[in-house]
């Protein structure tokens, strides 16, 4: 299929070894198109409150033994990581799908069942993993609509990135080189095993959340002023956690689209095309304009772009709603010139 024409053997081997462990967050997909026309209040305060609630519990746990004096910063980091993650399904996401403190789409259990039928992956084959595991709902953080799976990616796969980063540092790579190594390994796993084999979906948005998770984990114990500091009372955070600076429009999968492999694409493409009329909705247009205004070429995007240019990855933008709708409108215009209003 030419998806990844130059296989990174080391990364592929690592991917196979990590397969069972890394499956978790990738098992869950999400659909921000579904939420386009639905109002949704911001949940930043509530999500931050939960994350800080768990952070406090993790540090209490670490500090309960001898005031945390025997624990290293890494021990504290691991205790924090354990508060959010599990195996296959992540604790923080299980919470996000159920709690009353977050505003989310779908909001109720009845809506949840309707979402499972009508989300963009709802029409895939019966044996597809996407039908077997429940989709992640959409929440809004700092003006960005994102699937709750991104929180899992931040804490879970961000931690995998940290392990790869640490391994690279131990082998003598510089900080920047180690970051690039970790990100590239994450991309390689996404494009080969996780996206290429298991889910059939390669998600640049997930990769963005992974990278931001890595940034946060690194900042916990490294740098001139690590976020974790040892005090007489034990380990504590210099300031409360705030997810907002880490979130960008790239976390919205309807804005930075997924590459969907052929087997799934025939089902997913019509579902995305069904949202074409909604592109003219004022709320949708305003949101996408706001995204565009704050959009930056992120670290992960730069690497993905280089892979697209090198022919190692299909261009995610080819799977985006704008291009698909424009192509569909052009095709319709060619078929029926009298109906030829084409968008963009």
């Amino acid at each position: 299929m030419g998806l990844l024409t130059r296989a990174n053997r080391g990364a592929t081997l690592a991917a196979l070894c990590a397969l069972a462990l890394a499956l978790p967050a990738r098992a869950l997909e999400t659909d921000q198109y579904y939420a386009w026309l639905r109002p949704l209040a911001d949940s930043s305060d509530a999500l931050n409150a939960k994350i800080n609630f768990e952070l406090a519990a993790a540090l209490d746990e670490i500090n309960s033994a001898n005031g945390g004096r025997a624990a290293s910063c890494r021990d504290a980091l691991e205790a924090i990581h354990d508060r959010y993650t599990l195996f296959i399904f992540q604790k923080i996401e299980l919470w996000a799908q159920r709690t009353a403190v977050l505003n989310r789409i779908p909001a109720t259990q009845a809506e949840e069942l309707e979402y499972r039928k009508n989300w963009i992956y709802g029409g895939v084959a019966w044996y597809d993993l996407g039908r077997t595991v429940p989709p992640s709902p959409t929440i809004e953080i700092a003006g960005v609509r994102l699937g709750t799976d991104k929180i899992s990616h931040f804490f879970s796969e961000g931690h995998y990135y940290l392990d790869w980063f640490d391994g690279a540092r131990a082998r003598g790579l510089s900080h920047d080189e180690a970051v690039e190594f970790a990100v590239r390994r994450g991309i390689a796993i996404e494009t080969t095993v996780l996206g290429g084999v298991i889910s059939g979906v390669i998600s640049p948005a997930d990769l963005e959340a992974n990278y931001q998770g890595l940034s946060w984990y690194i900042d916990l114990c490294e740098g001139e002023q690590p976020l974790l500091e040892r005090t007489d009372a034990g380990w504590k955070l210099r300031e409360p956690f705030d997810l907002r600076p880490y979130v960008s429009p790239e976390w919205d999968e309807s804005y930075l689209p997924n590459v969907v492999l052929d087997g799934r694409w025939k089902h997913v493409k019509p579902a995305i095309l069904s949202h074409c009329p909604e592109l003219d909705d004022p709320a949708v247009r305003a949101r996408r304009a706001a995204y565009a205004a704050r959009d930056e070429h992120t670290y992960t995007e730069k690497i993905l772009d280089s892979m697209v240019t090198a022919g190692e990855l299909r261009n995610p933008l080819d799977y985006g709603v704008e291009r698909l709708c424009a192509a569909a409108a052009m095709q319709a215009a060619r078929t029926d010139p009298a109906n030829g209003s084409s968008r963009q």
Binding site: F89, L94, W95, R98, A100, V101, Q109, A110, V133, P134
Partner: protein, 221 residues
Amino acid sequence: MPGRACAAINAPRKAFYRGDRLAFAARARFAHVVVAAALIAAATSASRAQEPASAPLTDQERLAAIDRELRRETEREHQLFGLARARVSYPQLASVGLGMLIGERSKAYDCTIQCEVDGWLASVEAGVGGAVWSLGPAYLIGELGDNKYFLSRRYMGYSVRGSVMRTWGDTPYRPDREWHAGVEGQFTVVSLNLTLGIYRRIGEHGHGEPWLFSGGIGWGF
């Protein structure tokens, strides 16, 4: 007011007759909230008559409310769930089983959609080559869906259980009608169930190798 309260009560019933039991459950809860709110409002309306309209929550009050809810979510309560599994295994060959999971879940929400349950699983399983009775701790992420007790979806779970097995019929490599006791572990991901166990023959009437290794693959938990 009474008319509105009746309408609120009837709404979930109508939903139920439309066959949408989940909507029924959700609306029933909503209706109860509406009715409760109406009663509270009626009871306090006299005293409120002289008070100014309540102001929206300040940020501090809102964060305090979030914090209260987060603490409430950590409270747990017990619930009984039904489980089933079917598998191909040795020495039972083809078998089906039923189980009861008595577990703790968050008090803040039920298991209609995804929840995690931590508790004890008791099960009985009968197959072509024997039967197994098991009891042990289990952890499961699943959901009831539109069932009231039966966990219709099992996303991930594991258990380690003490088990007693009775073999019968044409069990390959084993004499039948033997009793064994042992430990069996099981792991389930998206309903794919894997089991592994080790047993030792109990009783005096057996002959041959006393240890028995079991394993299987199937559906359920």
